[in-house]
Amino acid sequence: MLLSLGIALCLASNVQAALPLPEMSHSFTSLKPAKPASDFTLPDLDGKPVKLSDYRGKVVLVNFWATWCPPCRREMPSMERLSQRLKGQPFVILAVNQQEEADQVFAFTGQLEPAPTFPILFDRNSTVSHAWNVLGLPASFIVDKQGRVAYRAMGGREFDHPEIEQTIRALLK
């Protein structure tokens, strides 16, 4: 039984590696009119509560993800690169993990280069993702300084692409 499961897990990783996923997109869809973002408070990796509305006055990239989701894994290093490029600007990334525990997330983020320095939050019952009408993972939203959802994207993105950086810089002005 254990051997069988081991073989299956090896196959799982092989299949995942073999999945010819689409190239990462680099566009966000503008939402007009921008609607107020549904507020949330979620624990971070240290268990400390993080509230979205506390970031009012900053541009916030809210990303819904999970470690088992291949495009979520692929896009995360580009989120960190974007975060580094916009360092010193009123810009924050909140990566909202779905239904996983801290040890699963640690095991994944420990392998990343560059490792994420932005807050990772835990939406263990997917309450927040449902409130945000997230249908699939990954999904990303850009919240403007006024706390409104200005852009959305379904599926993986190359976040440090100039087009996305430009979109965020325009909101930072």
């Binding site: 299956a8 196959l11 799982a12 073999a18 997109s25 999970a66 088992w68 291949p70 249908l135």
Partner: protein
Amino acid sequence: MKHPHAFFRFIFLLALLLVPAIHAAELTQNRDPESGLLAWKKVDRGFSLELIQLLPEYVAALYSSRNLPPAVVDSMRGYCVFGSVVQNQSGGTLDYRVADWRVVTPDGKQHRLKTKPEWVAEWKTLGSDFGWSILPATASFDTGDWAQGFTTVKLPPGSHFDLLYAWRHHGKRYRGKMENLVCAPDKPPLAP
């Protein structure tokens, strides 16, 4: 040339005639050299759909590794499961509903795909909710958006079928067909 305008008009008309041929999307099939598993992809009028065979053991291992109740893992047995990727390459907004899609087996029978809300409702009674693994049942996509997840139909391993699917683009309904698809076999085709 005596009548260059007539020539270019001819070329233009020929190009117009060829446009439907370009839209007649082609189904491509790939075999993973390591696992021997098959994958199919079709891009039809901006709607890209890709299906990747998944072994029953792989699916069971994935759910087991999430520490889901054994009843949830067992619930997937008997289903033909594909890794699925849907992408909007249309340059506009499009949407789909998995509930509109049908699998047609060689005996002519049509089979519904089991949708994400149906799985979630079943798994909730079994004490779990891992709905994120299933392809969103409906989605409205903008250019560049894509989604992935499992599509499932109750068929035995190795079953042959055609998939009839549909989507809407700018309010107009389109239909597509992927022919000669096969559920993953019970055991790896290129087992070590």
